[in-house]
């Protein structure tokens, strides 16, 4: 607890865990993009209510992900959020409109009609997933920014972090970031379809969702393989003795250097593929969400770890490598990291009650009968 390097590594691990949980929970957003299609009104009601009982968890995880970044790596908060302004604002806008769409969509007097709110849910599903993928893409493929702390001493121009004038739009236009963004989007759709199969008792809907799992899962697999190939070929910045050194194939080196991470990564990929194919081809099997979900979390966890561990810059600057952010140069002080680590002892308790309540609430799948009797509906 008195070694700042260990605490930085610990907090990066917690960020990675939150990131992993967030990507798994994006099944809510993915599910929102599946509401329309061949669903009947009754099926759509079950789908919306199935997701609606979980949307807050995804939303909260995103907020805590941001809060944890702020507390542990404030220079990232300052640089990425202030710099990639449009990227983050679009992500936030998509989550803002999601929050009230569930509650309002079927209420009398909602002014704009159910389809309007369903459109907002679709917007959140597409934009939220894709742009979160793009934002994480900047962790690997870098961004156009500089950090100059002494700017604080210039009253006429005091900002320390400066980004390209396009303020995040260039990150959205970067094909490598988009590759990850679309992979996340199709993964979320795959997980969403698996969640419907798990949580809704409707044979026809399940059959349709199994086809969605196969179609979206295959697209995801292709995009993910392409992303991994690009990532392994990607160069980056490593801080050695405080100096920024550019290194080709840095993520490949990190993966090979952390054999345990490579093993988790491989296990995660296999779990996702197992979840996809067994769900697609085994009628009656409803556990795909757990296999693919845990696999997703494992893969995302490792991606974060190879982005930030071993002195790697987790936000490389393509303009000025020495401005790149690493967990060492962007973290909070020893005192704050240690204090926050004591607070993190609460996380297992939080996880325990989330799991307990999830188990209680999902003990029985949603049925049409339940929808007919439930007075509080989305």
């Amino acid at each position: 607890m008195n070694n700042i390097e260990n605490l930085q590594a610990y907090w990066w691990l917690l960020i990675a865990v939150l990131g992993a949980a967030l990507v798994f929970l994006l099944f809510v957003q993915g599910g929102q993009t599946l509401l329309y299609g061949k669903s009947s009104l009754a099926q759509r009601q079950m789908m919306v209510n199935s997701l609606g009982r979980k949307w807050e968890l995804t939303f909260t995880t995103l907020v805590v992900f941001g809060g944890a970044f702020f507390a542990s790596f404030p220079l990232f908060y300052s640089t990425s959020f202030g710099g990639a302004y449009w990227l983050w604002m679009l992500i936030l806008l998509s989550f803002v409109v999601q929050a009230f769409s569930y509650e309002f969509r079927r209420k009398n007097g909602n002014l704009y009609g159910t389809r309007f709110y369903d459109g907002l849910l679709m917007f959140n599903g597409i934009v939220g997933c894709t742009l979160l993928g793009v934002a994480v893409g900047t962790f690997f493929f870098g961004a156009d920014f500089t950090v100059q702390r002494s700017s604080l001493l210039d009253p006429a121009s005091p900002v320390i972090s400066r980004w390209a004038p396009t303020h995040g739009l260039e990150a959205i236009a970067c094909w490598k970031n988009l590759l990850l963004g679309f992979a996340v989007f199709f993964l979320a759709r795959t997980l969403g379809a698996m969640y419907f199969i798990n949580n809704i008792a409707d044979t026809a809907l399940s059959e349709r969702m199994r086809r969605q799992v196969l179609a979206n899962g295959l697209v995801f697999a292709v995009l993910f393989v392409a992303f991994v190939v690009v990532l392994m070929l990607q160069g980056g910045v490593r801080f050695i003795g405080g100096q920024a050194v550019e290194e080709p194939n840095i993520y490949l080196h990190n993966l090979l250097g952390m054999w345990w991470a490579a093993a988790i990564f491989l296990a995660g990929v296999l779990a996702v593929l197992y979840g996809i194919f067994r769900t697609a081809f085994c009628r009656g099997w409803r556990c795909g969400i757990w296999w693919a979900g845990i696999g997703t979390a494992a893969v995302v966890l490792v991606l974060f770890l190879i982005a930030g561990y071993a002195g790697t810059a987790y936000l490389p600057s393509v303009t000025d490598p020495s401005s790149s952010l690493s967990i060492a140069n962007s973290s909070s002080s020893l005192f704050t990291l240690r204090t926050m680590s004591y607070v993190s002892v609460l996380i297992p308790f939080v996880l325990a009650y989330i799991v307990y309540v999830w188990a209680k609430m999902n003990a029985k799948p949603i049925t049409e009968t339940e929808m007919a009797e439930e007075p509080h509906q989305y």
Partner: protein, 523 residues
């Protein structure tokens, strides 16, 4: 420079707009969660299904409002990064911690148990459901605690030191940050004001039900619970408000002077009960700051120091370096013009420190560090162009403060009348004028609630961190056009959201008023 000013103003406007929208929904969530939990407790204790149905009625209204609070809240947290990136670095080491704790301790609790609260009636036991309702209410208040700890730290930065090597402030005492006296007052003031607001909401809706002629029993039951919670909340808000004013006098005397429109202080200063300010030009030309006022003699001295003769400084006194001592004589401090010089000296010492550090000159570093320690308490003044820049907008602060205080006084009368009628003279609740009192209390309580936040946030300008960083130095490197665009996007989205929320709530209440709440299912 022009664009810098534009970015500052538009960033301020965007943050103020999102905060005010957020604060429309949050106090109702805080108070209504408590009221719903009390109602459900009565149901579980008595087994009377009429109480269960009344609980469900208010729970639905809570749910509509809760979603809006969540939607407007996410923006606020991330705006510290998107619009105030310099701030995020300068104090992120301290400010980020409460936000992270809020997420871990409070947000997950709310998010998990609110789903049980709405959908768990037939899925979990009665007691587990009740526990979930209480845990949601506790989560909501815990959330308020940590965000107010963060906010209070900006107004009274404690438990930290400046690290010149990193050019930022770092935390040195977590408990000083968490139990900052300003934060404790702010927390109780904000939470109890939420109880008052929710109490007024319940009173107003119940009066609507009474006016429609059905559900008299449900309305009276609700008035009793809402009235007690609201009255208790209001009295506690007044008490903690006094505590807040004392803290403001101690740590933000300029804000107190602006709240009272006090330009020239003295001994035994009166409290302005009601007043109209002269124009800033007239005041600058030497006119009396007050066109008209009704004063309470010695009131301000008495309120702040418990003495009729104590010295309370005005704006001009503070600019000249005469501060409150708690006694009859002013405590002398550097005038603001000198503070500005000290701020510049702090900046110059920091420059010297950076140069010495790069050159590896430890002697020069030590000398510069000593100067930084001496001058850093006035670091933020170095960014100001004139001492007058340290004065907040007096008119807005003054009128907001007086709207808040006078409105709170009116609310005490309204609550007491309605509660008295509900408990002792139920027949009075049949009169139309009584219903109008209920509606009036809702309008007044929202006005008071918003005015309170204006006092807190406008009154502390120009500081984003008291004395250390003015708002202008806290910004991000973005164009004012970008911030204007997002300002209007969120203005449209939030306004559309608010209009839809009001429409849904009125439609729901109207529909409920045509049925029997105690027996109906609430859709």
């Amino acid at each position: 420079m022009n664009d810098l000013l534009g970015v500052v103003d538009w960033s301020r406007a965007q943050f103020a707009m999102t905060a005010m929208y957020h604060w429309l929904f949050v106090p109702l969530t805080i108070g209504l969660s408590l009221i719903v939990a009390i109602m459900e407790s009565i149901y579980v204790r008595t087994g009377d299904t009429r109480w269960r149905n009344i609980t469900k009625f208010w729970m639905t209204l809570f749910g509509i409002n809760f979603a809006c609070g969540v939607a407007t809240g996410i923006i606020l947290e991330f705006e510290f990064g998107t619009n105030w990136s310099n701030y995020s670095w300068f104090v992120g080491d301290i400010f980020g911690a409460p936000l992270a704790i809020e997420g871990i301790v409070a947000f997950f609790m709310e998010a998990t148990f609110v789903a049980v609260m709405f959908f768990g009636w037939n899925k979990v036991s009665r007691r587990f459901h009740l526990a979930s309702t209480w845990l949601t209410a506790i989560g909501v208040s815990l959330s308020a605690l940590w965000i107010l700890v963060a906010n209070a730290w900006m107004q009274n930065p404690v438990g930290m030191t400046f690290d010149p090597a990193q050019m930022r402030n770092v935390m040195t005492d977590f408990w000083a940050v968490a139990f900052n006296p300003v934060s404790m007052n702010k927390f109780f003031h904000a939470v109890t004001s939420g109880w008052a607001l929710a109490g007024a909401f319940v009173l107003a809706v119940s009066c609507w039900l009474l006016a429609r002629g059905r559900n008299a029993d449900a309305a009276r039951k609700s008035i009793r619970i809402g009235g007690w919670v609201g009255t208790a909340g209001l009295l506690l808000t007044c008490w903690t408000g006094h505590g807040s004013a004392v803290q403001v006098a101690r740590v933000q005397p300029m804000k107190l002077a602006a709240m009272e429109g006090l330009y020239t202080g003295g001994n035994g200063v009166p409290l302005v009960a009601f007043g109209i300010l002269n124009s800033p030009e007239a005041i600058a030309a030497g006119a009396d700051p007050m066109k008209f006022s009704i004063d309470i003699p010695y009131g301000l001295s008495l309120m702040i120091d418990g003495s009729t003769t104590s010295y309370v400084p005005g704006i001009e006194d503070l600019l000249a370096g005469r501060e409150r001592s708690g006694g009859e004589q002013p405590a002398m401090a550097p005038p603001y013009s000198q503070r500005m010089e000290m701020g510049v000296l702090a900046r110059q010492a920091l420059t010297r420190y950076s140069q010495a550090r790069e050159a590896g000159d430890s002697t020069a570093m030590a000398e510069a560090e000593a100067d930084i320690s001496t001058y850093f308490p006035n670091f933020g003044y170095g960014y100001l162009e004139s001492p007058d820049d340290a004065v907040p907008p007096v008119g807005l602060t003054f009128y907001s403060f007086h709207v808040m205080v006078l409105g709170a006084g009116l609310l005490v009368v309204l609550f007491a009348t309605l509660l008295f009628a509900a408990i002792r003279k139920p027949a009075l609740l049949g009169y139309r004028w009584m219903h109008w009192l209920g509606f009036l209390s809702l309008v007044v309580v929202y006005l008071v609630s918003q005015a309170g936040w204006i006092v807190a946030e406008v009154g502390r300008q120009p500081w984003v961190i008291q004395n250390l960083m003015p708002t202008g130095a806290a910004i991000s490197d973005i164009s004012s056009a970008s911030v204007q665009t997002t300002f209007w996007i969120f203005a449209v989205v939030f306004t559309g959201l608010l209009v839809a929320e009001i429409s849904i709530m009125t439609r729901y209440i109207s529909k409920a008023s045509r049925s029997d709440i105690e027996t109906a299912k609430h859709v």
